[in-house]
């Protein structure tokens, strides 16, 4: 049994890597979103983390050290740009954070000594063991789940629905948003580290517009708020090409159409849809207003 399990893990290594990287990107987007920060900066952080890891690993640094350096670097960059957050709302924030990503993309092409230009970085030591990768993902999932509970979770939820009201109820809005954005930056950069240290290559095609779309797809399909969402979304997005193998080039077109349909008609995503179905059935069986409220709060 254990042998078969490890065989499966080894033979599906590329698939697992894709799921892990996509899940981390999804959590990076979601961490910001659930505090009401509409951030498109994730791929920018992903690129920074990826190129930094590639350079450090090529200089033969220990991967555990690189992991922490990347986490700290992602957090610091997020903190440096976070003063902008306080001044901006919704669409402006979306535009400013996307401008950050576009800027990093342009930097990746022009700053050749650090990024390898159009060819990218290759031959990076693939030092991260598969178990390490899975543990990283699990830790992030656990952290997201843990912070969505209790007082912290309720403060975040309040922020998402009404910033003014939550401020008047004693939520430190500015601090919450900066923490959320810093966490988003750290996890985004972490995704870059995981990608480089398992794939060994990193280049402009890893951080282009398609990647922005993929990260958003993961969140949209899984659900923008629920903690399990990005993981489910990542599994769907990573396995979608296997099901659509016959579709060939139509793959990308189909993916975009699916996202459009979900965004327009199922804003809760797959997890939201399933939960609503289960919740509906449960409510019909036994209706308990107190439990309903408790359920709403933990979301």
């Amino acid at each position: 049994m254990a042998a078969r399990m490890s065989d499966w893990l080894i033979s599906n290594a590329p698939l697992l890597r894709n799921v892990s990287v996509l899940a981390l990107l999804g959590y990076s987007v979601q961490l910001a979103l659930r505090s009401g920060v509409m951030s498109f900066a994730t791929i920018g952080f992903f690129a920074l983390g990826g190129y930094l890891s590639a350079n450090l690993l090529q200089a033969d640094w220990n991967w555990v050290v690189v992991l922490f350096v990347v986490l700290i670097f992602g957090t610091l960059v997020a903190l440096v740009i976070s003063p902008v957050l306080r001044r901006l709302r919704h669409l402006y924030l979306a535009m400013a954070t996307l401008a950050f990503t576009l800027f990093v993309q342009s930097l990746a092409l022009t700053w050749r000594p650090f990024t390898g230009g159009a060819e990218g970085m290759y031959g990076v030591p693939r030092v991260l063991p598969q178990a390490g990768m899975l543990v990283i993902v699990l830790i992030v999932v656990f952290a997201v789940w843990y912070t969505q509970r209790g007082a912290q979770g309720r403060a975040t939820a309040a922020l998402r629905y009404d910033e003014l009201l939550s401020a008047s109820l004693g939520v430190n809005v500015g601090r919450q948003e900066i923490i959320a954005f810093a966490a988003s930056g750290a996890v985004g950069a972490l995704a870059g580290f995981v990608r480089v240290s398992t794939a060994g290559v990193f280049g402009p095609e890893d951080i282009n517009f398609t990647m922005v779309v993929d990260a958003l797809t993961v969140v949209v399909l899984g659900g923008t708020i629920l903690w399990l969402g990005p993981l489910v979304g990542a599994i769907v997005v990573a396995t979608l090409p296997l099901f659509l193998a016959d579709a060939g080039h139509w793959n990308l077109i189909l993916q975009a159409v699916i996202v459009l349909i979900v965004v327009v008609y199922q804003p809760g995503g797959i997890v939201g849809m399933v939960e609503r179905l289960i919740g509906g059935a449960r409510r019909r069986l036994k209706s308990d207003p107190k439990k309903e409220i408790a359920r709403m709060e933990t979301r």
Binding site: M95, L102, F103, L107, T210, V213, V257, V263
Partner: protein
């Protein structure tokens, strides 16, 4: 020196045409259309396809077809995506859904375009628009550059007049201030939204064709770099102010041209990003923030 001014002006004219549509759809409909750059590319691609596979059509007809195709895409986005979203959910959810939907639309159009071009840049047929250049002493200007500058001038004056003076333009401003109130006062919000998306996209298509003729190439990702510049322009100018948008576009293009000429070309985007951050920190509403725009 004066040569760089001419080049900067024609680049600024392209920026103007591109930023105009983005700015109006944001101001009027509260939509940040991240597919705007892709619609721009579709305009260029349509012109390429019509010119290289259909029988010889005059340039004006090709231009018109490309604009109609782009306008139709804008219309489809409003009818199939923005309108259903607008009718459901709370405001935060709606804003988020709309932005993500424009990203997905963009991905869809890029995937289709790559299918058509095979993922490679394609060359614009040279007989579509005979590009010739005139020289005055040391100065060189091409006829397409003149066309671009004139078209941008006419388009910005037209849009400015429409928003300031025309009855429907006033209605659009009312819509941007309070959609529900405007509807109660008898403004047809649905029609106006559809018309705005159609025109904004058609202008993007126009800009796409003109740029493709100037650089004589079409590529599926050609709109993305422009999106970055348009963000900078909107942040500098503020949303919806036509005069400020035109000035910001030309100023940005001139600065970029001079950096490329006298300093290091690859530093252009660094400077542009620096300007974006500076404005966001010091004056996030832009230089000309007026009453009818929201930040």
């Amino acid at each position: 020196m004066l040569q760089y001014v001419i080049n900067g002006l024609s680049l600024g004219a392209i920026y103007t045409l591109f930023a105009l549509g983005l700015s109006i759809s944001w101001a009027g409909l509260n939509v940040l259309n991240l597919a705007h750059g892709t619609v721009f590319m579709v305009g260029a691609l349509t012109a390429w396809w019509v010119a290289s596979s259909l029988t010889q059509l005059p340039f004006l007809a090709v231009l018109l077809i490309a604009m109609l195709v782009c306008g139709a895409i804008g219309l489809a986005m409003e009818l199939l995506v923005f309108r259903p979203i607008r009718r459901a959910g709370d405001e935060n959810q709606r804003t988020l859904s709309t932005v993500i939907a424009t990203v997905a639309t963009s991905a869809l159009l890029i995937a289709i375009a790559e299918q058509i071009t095979g993922g490679q840049p394609v060359g614009m047929p040279h007989d579509l628009f005979g590009v010739t250049s005139y020289t005055f002493g040391d100065l060189r200007i091409t006829n397409i550059q003149i066309v671009i500058i004139v078209v941008a001038l006419i388009a910005s004056i037209g849009v400015a007049w429409f928003i300031k003076r025309a009855r429907q333009g006033q209605a659009l401003r009312a819509l941007s201030v309070d959609r529900d109130m405007a509807k109660m006062l008898g403004i047809s919000a649905d029609f106006l939204s559809a018309a705005t998306m159609f025109s904004a996209s058609a202008i993007a298509g126009l800009a796409g064709v003109l740029l493709a003729v100037q650089i004589s190439a079409v590529e599926a990702h050609m709109g993305e770099a422009l999106l970055f510049k348009a963000f900078a322009i909107i942040i500098i100018a503020g949303i919806g102010s036509i005069g400020a948008t035109v000035s910001a576009a030309i100023a940005l293009a001139l600065v970029e041209t001079f950096i490329a000429a006298y300093w290091i070309s690859s530093l252009r985007d660094v400077v542009v990003f620096g300007v974006i951050i500076l404005f966001l920190l010091v004056r996030p509403n832009g230089l000309a923030s007026k009453g009818w725009q929201r930040a």
